[in-house]
């Protein structure tokens, strides 16, 4: 999810400076002034003395539509956490526990039928929309239908398994989910029926695209017009050219401290338009409290020294990689793909990203600390389980064997500072390996869809992937399965066009195993990862960390590994 939008929209740059996902890493920075510290995985109790004030956020530009079923950016997903609720939610706490799914608008976690095809929920009573209307099961049914009505970006990938969804995806006019989402107003019961078991459904129901909206909400993208919220905040005003302002939802009463805790600031405003340089200065001067965009490279040292107490560095479950088009020369030759894996100096990529405190070299698709990850490095000098150094001699030998030296290779990156710098490094490396390499930096607004479309004949591209939810399939199955490869489409997330029947079968086995034995499934995913890297359709570069730079007055910083900084838990008083 996140990476898709971050790359496709304005936020590519956001993650550009972020960095290394070290396993189970925690914030290495000193605790900010004031902390509502609680036991790990437990949400701290509300401290009313810190309530109030205006939390002033800055972003270079707006994040697009306010519609929670349409928007797919980290920028707004982070804010949606304070406004919208689904039947389930990721626990809003600091650290690894934030990957835990808890009941939100549902009274409890679902009861799953033995065959894994039915999920039964009971809707919580007494929860109200910001309009004052109570949330009903009809709203739930309408919300699931709305996923397809508004063409939610994940309609075809997350929710296509609901009975009736297949028709909704092809013909919105006759969309009928009455057999897939069965509700009973008398008992407040909701049953979701699937066409096939989906062990990851709980995760998919906990993201903003599955938020419950008021029945009667627009059947197309609501755009800049906010739709009623259930969470502690609602949007008071929004102008994508100037600012977004959130105020408390008068109808909100906390029902689950884990799923939707009360927030501290009275108002939250996000102002758009300042350059990141100016935004950093504003936070340093106390004129703003946080910047969404990553600090520029030349301000990192200053932030890490003079403002260390205000910097929060957190590992992300993500990776940056070079996608090689397995259908185009020279990367249709596995030896060339392996050669590039051997030749790329991951340390160089890490340096260009901001250094070892911001990124960690990787050799696998699954990030360190992620379910299914096992340390393994097939392409490092001297061998081993972790990356040590590039092996140029071996790489050159493989290229000589392939007979592809001298070919033209285009590298497509986004045009921001970090991506372009890494692209320039790769261009230099390919030239050294004997290719005629050219760099094609293009706008971050279009690069992600451009590199997916096979009609554009992109040979090599730099991109990244940030988890939607904590499951190995969200990396391996999404990025590298045959089903994810759609020639001629802007939505062909398998950018390498990698399709190996044996590996695909292994993925299906792991998906099936997930339903009954997650640990065994993770072992199987590790094997899939290894098998994929043997075919080398991509070059994993590094796993990033994210820097949150907050003002001096901000306290109670907490970082959810799922949705990042918990905005409304910040104190400004």
């Amino acid at each position: 999810m996140l990476s898709r939008r971050l790359s496709a929209l304005t936020a590519v740059a956001v993650l550009a400076v972020a960095a290394t996902a070290c396993s189970g890493g925690s914030d290495p920075t000193p605790a900010p002034s004031g902390s509502g510290a609680a036991a790990p995985g437990v949400a701290a109790a509300y401290q009313p003395q810190h309530a109030g004030g205006d939390l002033h956020l800055l972003a270079k530009s707006a994040g697009g539509s306010l519609d929670p079923k349409v928007n797919y950016t980290l920028q707004y997903w982070q804010l949606f956490q304070a406004m919208y609720d689904g039947l389930l939610a990721f626990k809003k706490v600091d650290g690894d526990a934030s990957f835990t799914v808890v009941p939100d608008l549902a009274e409890a976690l679902p009861t799953v039928s033995a065959d894994g095809l039915s999920y039964t929920f009971t809707l919580r009573k007494g929860v109200k929309f910001s309009t004052g209307a109570e949330v009903t099961v009809d709203d739930v049914a309408a919300s699931f239908k709305r996923i397809f009505e508004v063409d939610s970006p994940t309609a075809g990938t997350f929710y296509n398994g609901i009975v009736g969804a297949a028709n909704c995806l092809t013909d919105k006019a006759t969309c009928d989910l009455s057999q897939g989402v069965v509700v009973d107003p008398a008992t407040n019961e909701i049953v979701i029926h699937l066409v096939a078991p989906d062990p990851e459904l709980s995760y998919k129901l906990a993201v903003p695209h599955a938020a419950i909206n008021l029945a009667g909400s627009p059947t197309s993208d609501a755009g800049n017009v906010p739709i009623p919220t259930t969470g502690p905040y609602m949007v008071a005003s929004y102008d994508p050219n100037t600012a977004l302002k959130m105020v408390r939802n008068p109808a909100f009463a906390e029902w689950s401290h884990d799923a939707q805790p009360k927030g501290y600031p009275d108002t939250i405003s996000e102002t758009f338009g300042l350059t990141v340089e100016a935004a950093v200065t504003a936070v340093q001067n106390g004129q703003a409290d946080w910047i969404f965009d990553p600090p520029p490279a030349d301000r990192l040292n200053e932030i890490g020294t003079k403002y260390a107490a205000q910097a929060h560095v957190n590992p992300l479950t993500a990776f940056w990689y070079l996608a090689m088009n397995t259908h185009l020369a020279p990367f249709d030759n596995v030896k060339v793909r392996q050669a590039l894996n051997l030749a790329v100096d991951r340390d160089a990529a890490v340096k260009l990203y901001g250094g070892t405190q911001l990124a960690q070299p990787v050799c696998t698709v699954l990030p360190p600390g992620f379910p299914g990850h096992v340390d393994d490095c097939q392409y490092t000098k001297g061998g081993g389980t972790t990356w040590k150094a590039p092996d140029l001699a071996k790489a050159k030998a493989l290229i000589a064997e392939s007979g592809t030296a001298g070919m033209e290779v285009g590298i497509t990156t986004t045009d921001d500072e970090v991506n372009k710098a890494i692209g320039e490094y790769v261009q230099s490396l390919l030239t050294e390996l004997g290719y005629k390499a050219t760099l094609k930096p293009i706008s971050g607004n279009i690069q992600f869809t451009y590199i997916q479309n096979t009609n554009n004949d992109v040979q090599l591209s730099l991109t990244s992937w940030y988890q939607d939810y904590p499951a190995a399939s969200d990396f391996l199955n999404v990025l590298l399965s045959c089903a994810s490869y759609t020639p001629g489409s802007d939505s062909s997330i398998n950018i390498s066009g990698f399709c190996d029947k044996d590996v695909d079968a292994q993925m299906q086995t792991a998906l099936t195993t997930e339903q009954t034995d997650p640990d065994k499934a993770n072992t199987q995913w590790a094997a899939v990862d290894k098998a994929v890297m043997t075919q080398a359709p991509l070059v994993p570069l590094f796993t990033p960390k994210l820097i949150d730079f907050t003002s001096k007055r901000v306290g109670n910083y907490q970082f959810s590994r799922q949705f990042y900084m918990l905005v409304i838990q910040l104190w400004v008083k």
């Binding site: 100096d345 250094g355 320039e424 230099s428």
Partner: protein, 356 residues
């Protein structure tokens, strides 16, 4: 100060120069107009100093490969992100990770003062800034000069044809110039660059690759054509009414011969005056386009790309941007001063003023 197109276009006709009694008194029968202008230019200290500066810049840039290979021992087009160098006898990384505080960020080595080891420091790819500055100058000057020549050539052609033939030819050409003139020059240049940089130019037998340096030459050369062609056209329109042109027509000279022998020599001084000014303008435009990543493409360098590269290092390594910025400013100023000198040298009125 640079001469405006209006100033330049105000140069007097030279059909039978020197054409005024005062000019005739100042000159001698043995001294042609070009020789006289050269003498005047040499006596202009400002112009002379500018020419010397330009010569130094030009020679330094031409010697870029010598500097890179024999002095700095570096390849300015190859990334050296994980490389090391020697400073004060110690081996240090070219890109040094921060070791203080949270250890965030990586800083390229700064100016060392040692020509053999990163005299002006490194950029974010670990490349020698001094070597890139010299190579970048070659591209900036090449593109600036190439584009200015293209502009003057096309403008001369359009201006002479439109002014001489008038009527429909003038109407069509003048409207084409109007259309080009209607676009803000940078907007037009950026638009053309964005389109052509992705696919290159394929126009009949002309094929220019996407990353070729000829693309910025062509684009910049094209967008400035109206700025030179319009005053030239006006000048030719006036020349067309002169007696010597009427006489040439009267004795049956062909249009081609009249344009070549009577009109062109009269507008040539104007074009010569325009040339250094257009080189400066084209060089600045190239720098701007490259700064916006739509000019010279990596790993090639120009002063504009180096300024762009240095933008992300402005706080920590300002030398990267400043070096290229100073080079652009000095060269552009020298070209403008030289252009002024050329204008004064070719303008008899200015010569008279100098003699008074």
């Amino acid at each position: 100060m640079s001469a405006s197109p209006a100033d330049v276009a105000a140069l007097p006709p030279r059909g039978s120069a020197p054409s005024t009694p005062a000019a005739r008194r100042a000159g001698t029968a043995a001294e042609g107009p070009w020789r006289r202008a050269a003498g005047q230019l040499v006596r202009n200290k400002g112009a002379l100093a500018s020419a010397v500066v330009l010569l130094v810049v030009l020679v330094a840039c031409l010697l870029a490969p010598v500097y890179a290979r024999s002095i700095a021992h570096t390849d300015p087009f190859t990334s050296n992100v994980s490389g090391t160098t020697v400073v004060d006898g110690r081996t240090v990384p070219v890109l040094a990770p921060s070791t203080t505080g949270l250890g965030l960020g990586v800083t390229p080595i700064g100016p060392t003062g040692d020509p053999a080891h990163y005299l002006l420091g490194a950029d974010n790819q670990g490349r020698d800034v001094m070597a890139r500055l010299l190579y970048g100058g070659r591209n900036s000057l090449l593109i600036g000069t190439g584009a200015a020549l293209t502009t003057c050539l096309l403008a001369g052609l359009v201006g002479v044809l439109a002014g001489y033939f008038g009527g429909v030819v003038d109407g069509v050409l003048a409207r084409v110039l109007d259309v080009l003139w209607a676009f803000p020059v940078y907007l037009l240049a950026i638009s053309l660059s964005v389109v052509l940089l992705t696919s290159g130019l394929h126009l009949g037998p002309v094929h220019i690759g996407a990353g070729s340096r000829w693309l910025p030459v062509l684009i910049i050369g094209l967008v400035y054509v109206p700025y030179v062609a319009r005053p030239l056209r006006g000048q030719v329109l006036a020349l067309r009414e002169k007696e010597f042109v009427a006489a040439a027509i009267g004795v049956g000279c062909s249009d081609w011969r009249i344009m070549r022998r009577d009109v062109l020599p009269n507008v040539l001084p104007t074009l010569v005056v325009f040339l250094p000014l257009m080189v400066a303008l084209a060089m600045l435009t190239e720098s701007a386009l490259s700064f916006l990543s739509v000019g010279v493409q990596p790993p090639q360098a120009s002063w504009g790309t180096i300024i762009n590269d240095g933008l992300g290092l402005l706080y920590t390594r300002p030398a990267v941007t400043l070096g290229a910025g100073v080079a652009v400013a000095v060269t552009a100023a020298a070209l403008n001063l030289l252009g002024d000198g050329v204008r004064e040298a070719l303008d008899p009125r200015a010569r008279l003023r100098g003699a008074a």
